[in-house]
């Protein structure tokens, strides 16, 4: 698979096509579910302005057009990022989503920065002792980590820390942020604190980030453990590993520079897909830890019957999945010298 511009363009077009499918799906949900689509789209408005709002929604959805034009109209609306105003937030949906994305991504990045190295390390340890009792234990641990309900783990971590008096709640101390004049610039608080050289806020945000990150990290840790074990064990049987061993290359070098290096592309690929799906885990854990972010939007969308916000989330999550997978493919190609660039 040569990694060429041609390939990237094809990949991009494919992603857009899939995204179109996702949008059409959400449109089908709106149209086919019982009730007036316009009322749903307007968010069950009440009061004197209700009729006007429903009429507005009807025009937005283009419900008087023939069906195929309706779908095209909806596609245009969603894919240009113009989903209109969120009922829950009374702001453009697009703005609400982008404002909250950074918080969730920060948590997700932290979780994967913990989970992937830790899991890979344990996986290599298991691969080196395949079939033994240590391997059995590590594999069971990997399965258990991947089988733990993330929301429940979050609650457990939370309960334990709280009982110990550790304030793992929210993103940053409001009082501290106000007292030190902290400003959110990028929305990644750790980064923002660094940019403003605000040490107290940095450490405070870090202390509040780690516990939920640990909960989100359970799944990637388990996954990477199992995956790196399988890939490294396979790689250890490769001819070039045998040759290197015969030439007297040290064990540590053989394991890391030879076997693990060979496992890396596969690891990147799978961890990438998992990263995309873990977005949901991060949203749930955010809710448990009282952090702002996309997780709260999920609840607000339900609470306010905010269909626009729901469609926005749907498309955002799908777009994130496609983007991350494309990136993972590219990264995988980049770290494999056999792929022509």
């Amino acid at each position: 698979m040569p990694l060429s511009l041609n390939y990237l363009v094809k990949r991009l077009l494919w992603s857009v096509a899939v995204l179109v499918g996702v949008v059409v799906f959400s449109y089908v949900v709106i149209i086919l579910s019982p009730g007036d689509p316009a009322v749903k789209w307007a968010g069950n408005p009440r009061g004197p302005g209700a009729a006007k709002a429903v009429e507005e929604a009807r025009r937005e959805l283009g419900l008087d057009l023939p069906l195929h034009l309706q779908v095209l109209n909806f596609l245009k609306m969603v894919l240009t990022g113009d989903l209109g105003y969120s009922i829950a937030y009374r702001q453009p949906v697009f703005a609400v989503l982008t404002r909250n994305l950074a918080a969730t991504l920060e948590l997700l990045f932290a979780a994967y920065l913990i989970g992937v190295p830790l899991g890979s390390l344990l996986g290599v340890a298991a691969a080196m002792r395949r079939g033994g009792s240590v391997d059995g234990l590590l594999q069971t641990l990997g399965l258990a980590l991947a089988s733990t309900p993330t929301f429940w783990l979050g609650m457990a971590v939370f309960a334990v820390l709280f009982s110990a008096g550790f304030p793992a709640y929210g993103r940053v101390s409001t009082g501290l942020a106000l007292a030190t004049g902290f400003q959110a610039i990028t929305g990644f608080y750790l980064l923002d604190a660094l940019l403003q050289l605000n040490a107290p806020v940095f450490f405070d945000a870090l202390a509040r980030l780690l516990p939920p990150a640990l909960a989100v990290a359970a799944y990637p840790t388990g996954l990477c453990l199992r995956l790196s074990r399988a890939l490294v064990a396979d790689a250890l049987l490769e001819e070039y590993v045998r040759a290197a061993v015969a030439w007297g290359v040290k064990r540590r070098v053989v394991v890391w520079k030879y076997a693990f290096r060979a496992a890396l592309p596969g690891l990147v690929q799978v961890a990438g897909t998992a990263f995309a799906y873990s977005l949901i885990d991060a949203m749930v854990v955010e809710y448990v830890f009282g952090r702002e972010g996309l997780g709260r939007l999920l609840f607000d969308a339900i609470a306010f019957s905010d269909f626009k916000l729901a469609v926005g989330l749907l498309v955002l999550v799908a777009a994130f999945y496609l983007a991350v997978n494309t990136l993972a493919d590219v990264a995988q190609a980049l770290i494999d010298p056999r792929v022509r660039l």
């Binding site: 061993v245 030439w247 290359v249």
Partner: protein, 316 residues
């Protein structure tokens, strides 16, 4: 006289799905220092397993029995194996397929670096310096190779690079496991010439594994013939080639192609027994044109013939 390799009733097997399959059974032989020694046999005869045992790269599910010494060090004793300080220092290895034996994720220069830093703690610059010498010795232009990935090299270059890597370890015993099997005839000749030259120049002990009797004749001083995990004949190459004792050796010699035309094997139909089959008798019994009654029930022990030859056959 110092022995480079000494195998005493060496058996090697693999654990597969709860079963233990013996690939090599009770093999005994010696290789003298600075000698060119060849192990010949069809695929599945166990010759590669012997090579792996000497080079210290039996796979993790391998099982051993008997004893093996390399450079005077006991490396196999029963099912215990210890190659610490042997691999790369006393014995080195030229693998079978050049493409698969170089790490595809590392530049050639890095592969030299990891070998040399592991063995001698050289820095990257020192390692590259040394690599140049060995690459030249293997007939490669260093600058065209060092910062390349293996897949950017041709098959012949890959094999030369692998040989240079094997040599760079400085070990005095070189095990070459069919290093030419995947190369075309022209390259094969070049590689053989190279190995010959290197042995002459550096005074290495060469243990060469091949299925090609002709090649064995061209290269080695002594030859061991293996069949179905057993060593059936051992002796000076010239004598074995001129006057084979074991019927299987005769078969191998007769099937050597002349001018590239493979002669059909008239009498020797059939396949070697698979390693799992329990056999009380001689493993060659099924295919042997000279079989006796005893051959069916009892495996022939190795017998000395003359002062330098050994054969395992009831005919002797």
């Amino acid at each position: 006289m110092v022995l480079a390799v000494e195998a005493k009733k060496l058996s090697v097997g693999y654990e597969e799905s709860d079963e233990l399959l013996w690939a090599v059974r009770e093999v005994s032989f010696e290789v003298r220092e600075s000698e060119a020694f060849c192990i010949v046999g069809e695929s599945g005869s166990g010759k590669s397993t012997v090579a792996s045992a000497i080079a210290g790269i039996l796979p993790p599910h391998g099982v051993t029995d008997g004893e093996l010494r390399v450079g005077g060090r006991v490396v196999v004793k029963g099912n215990e194996r210890d190659y610490e300080g042997v691999r790369g220092r006393l014995v080195t290895y030229v693998p079978q397929s050049p493409g698969a034996s170089l790490n595809p994720y590392l530049e050639i220069g890095d592969q030299f670096y990891y070998v040399l830093s592991s063995l001698y703690g050289l820095s990257r610059r020192e390692a590259v310096e040394k690599a140049r010498a060995y690459l030249r010795m293997a007939g490669l232009e260093p600058d065209a190779v060092l910062d390349r990935y293996p897949h950017e090299l041709s098959g012949g270059m890959q094999q030369r690079a692998a040989i240079a890597l094997a040599l760079s370890t400085g070990a005095r015993i070189l095990v070459a496991d069919e290093p030419t099997s995947s190369l075309d005839a022209h390259l094969r000749l070049q590689i053989v010439e190279l190995l010959k030259r290197l042995r002459a120049e550096a005074g290495l002990t060469l243990i060469f594994i091949t299925h090609d009797m002709l090649l064995a004749g061209a290269l080695s001083e002594r030859v061991a013939v293996m069949y179905a995990g057993r060593l059936v004949e051992l002796g000076p190459t010239r004598e074995v080639l001129r006057k084979p004792l074991h019927p299987y050796t005769s078969m191998l010699i007769e099937s050597v192609p002349v001018l590239g035309v493979k002669r059909p094997l008239k009498a020797y139909t059939g396949e070697p027994p698979s390693p799992g089959e329990p056999s009380g008798g001689c493993p060659f019994y099924e295919r042997c044109p000279f079989r006796l009654e005893v051959c069916a029930s009892e495996n022939p022990p190795a017998k000395g013939v003359g002062e330098s030859r050994r054969v395992a056959c009831w005919l002797f």
